[in-house]
Assembly symmetry: C2
Homo-oligomer: 401 residues x 2
Amino acid sequence: MTSPVIAVVGGGQLARMMAPAAAELGVRLRVLVESPDTSAAQVVTDAPVGAASDEAAIRALIAPPAGQDVADVLTFEHEHVPNALLTDLIAHGTPVRPGPHALVAAQDKIVMRTRLHELGVPCPQWRALPASVDEGRVALEQFLAVSGGEAVVKLARGGYDGKGVRVVSGAGEADDWLVAATEGGPPVLVEEKVPFRRELSALVARRPSGEVRAWPVVESIQRDGVCSEVVAPAPGLSDDIDARAREIASDVAEGLDVTGVLAVEMFEVPLDPADPDGPTTVLVNELAMRPHNSGHWTIDGSVTSQFEQHLRAVLDLPLGSTEPVAPWTVMVNVLGSERKVLTGALPDLFERYDSARVNLYGKGIRPGRKLGHVNVSGGDLDEVRAAAKGAAALLMGEETA
Amino acid sequence: MTSPVIAVVGGGQLARMMAPAAAELGVRLRVLVESPDTSAAQVVTDAPVGAASDEAAIRALIAPPAGQDVADVLTFEHEHVPNALLTDLIAHGTPVRPGPHALVAAQDKIVMRTRLHELGVPCPQWRALPASVDEGRVALEQFLAVSGGEAVVKLARGGYDGKGVRVVSGAGEADDWLVAATEGGPPVLVEEKVPFRRELSALVARRPSGEVRAWPVVESIQRDGVCSEVVAPAPGLSDDIDARAREIASDVAEGLDVTGVLAVEMFEVPLDPADPDGPTTVLVNELAMRPHNSGHWTIDGSVTSQFEQHLRAVLDLPLGSTEPVAPWTVMVNVLGSERKVLTGALPDLFERYDSARVNLYGKGIRPGRKLGHVNVSGGDLDEVRAAAKGAAALLMGEETA
């Protein structure tokens, strides 16, 4: 008997951040990385190189030809995996968590909306556009007419971090995507542009035995469609909305049979558009079935991090406490940098912010790229937020006040 | 420009626990491991195999023949390194932290006692025994005569975890060590058997620029000469003794020019032997110039762990906050196990203790061996301690009440 082996598809920062959790639990990670120098490959000793779309590479990840131990479970740091293969792996005895029947709702926004509707989960108004330029344009025009003249067009598959999402106000503004859809590209859907007050994220984990644990609901602040800052818990959130958001996330986890970590991104919207400061409700925006940027605060701010919880969940181990360790934790992303080397910021950063928890992903610097994050915890939200933003700004090479 | 490379001598659990800290800081570890499957080798991608006593291996650790980046600093997870080589490395431009002039006081207990005496640090009564069986026996007899008939004989070098330490009540009981000393074995010293109330440990970090930070002083509970449990902070410690213990540790760090983490193990003893429950003072027992078992609680119980702090200190980065994140943290060691595989305990353990922070070292199971530890934090010391002990007992395969 030996300790469990968890196979992970994808070698980015999410797999990298699983490594400390695996080392502590005494379980072994085997990560399929895109190249030998990816974020995860730098810190995972068992990191074969291969593409997530390569069936042979995924089969070898589970049962290596060199005779290492067969993996006990297969999981993912992104959703871009071939579902037919996953179904076949399950049929031949490899647990795949989350399973392809759940994962498809994170891969395809039309499937996601359809499933959430079936579960009675509140979502923005939406419709799938026909895969024909003429019919698609007509459908979009009709949708715009009843939506105040503006709407959000999305590619059903392949989008992330603001890519594959476009706000339109004219029926012709999605023609390129409609053309692509007729030529084998991803289907297109349109959603109402929700007049949200802010964005929330409800993070839960669920294991095959059915146990579900939810972290406090957080506020997520986006810049150019990319998460820039997360405040845990969401300031001033009413008990009702907190409970409702957690309940929705748990319902989605159970309804879709998700195993592992599930992030449910939501809009908090006024119940009455004429009273923007009045009572609110929530609508589900997006799902992610893996550790998520809105949960990075848990590494330093919660008894159990989302990364350890994901590993526990996919191994069907009892889940850990999701209690916060401080009244407030703020996470700020490092998005691109003017610096040549991020670690060059550390002398200044640690001099100014001695409680800052820095996490750098070992990635090459490119404009806007997620290169790391900073967490700061404490009792005074303004101070905590200022420190997290100040520290991240130093890593980005920005001047700070 | 690239991120720093820290070279570490020794591939045990202390180097292993540096890996998550290095990954988060975005710095690179290169660890000299004893074999390809040591505790650290399992989780460090750059882990050449070699002995700590092998000069060529240490030179290659700093400047690999394959042309990887030269290490920015050399540090250690144990003290068993050849000092002449370290001195030569420094002369040729490699920072060695802690330096050999400091390290010798952690390698040789006679040097340690001599240096501490020079610094005015309170220690037990002691003397070095002459390296002759006859003269050594006479000296030991004289020492016993003025020490109440019992004393502690120690090998000056090479001891750890209760090895190389022996309580004696007769002058002939150290003959084997005295013989060995005449044949090139380590020198022998004798110390008074201190009637301590309990053992404390003061953990500090110091960087070359001079900054020193101290964690709260902890109580350390030994079983058969091996640390079994640590309570942070030490319960009921007077403000005076807390301040005094921190001051001693800071003085030692400065006086010996230690860089990195320094653990100062102390005895808390009654000022008046006739009043065992009255006011106390502290005497220094041992020093360790590296992360130490009495600091494992900081991984989950302090803003900055001793492992991150050690890396920051040896890179001369500003040190992090040493504030605790909870009123109490208790660490219990997993010392040996009746189990075949430690991870087999996790289903039961996490079911019963959902706040337990488990850390397993990936080592083969042998009786009494340090295989891992459990931290539990919280507001109620009795509950926290019961959970940490219960969780560790499950890992050891013991029945619990």
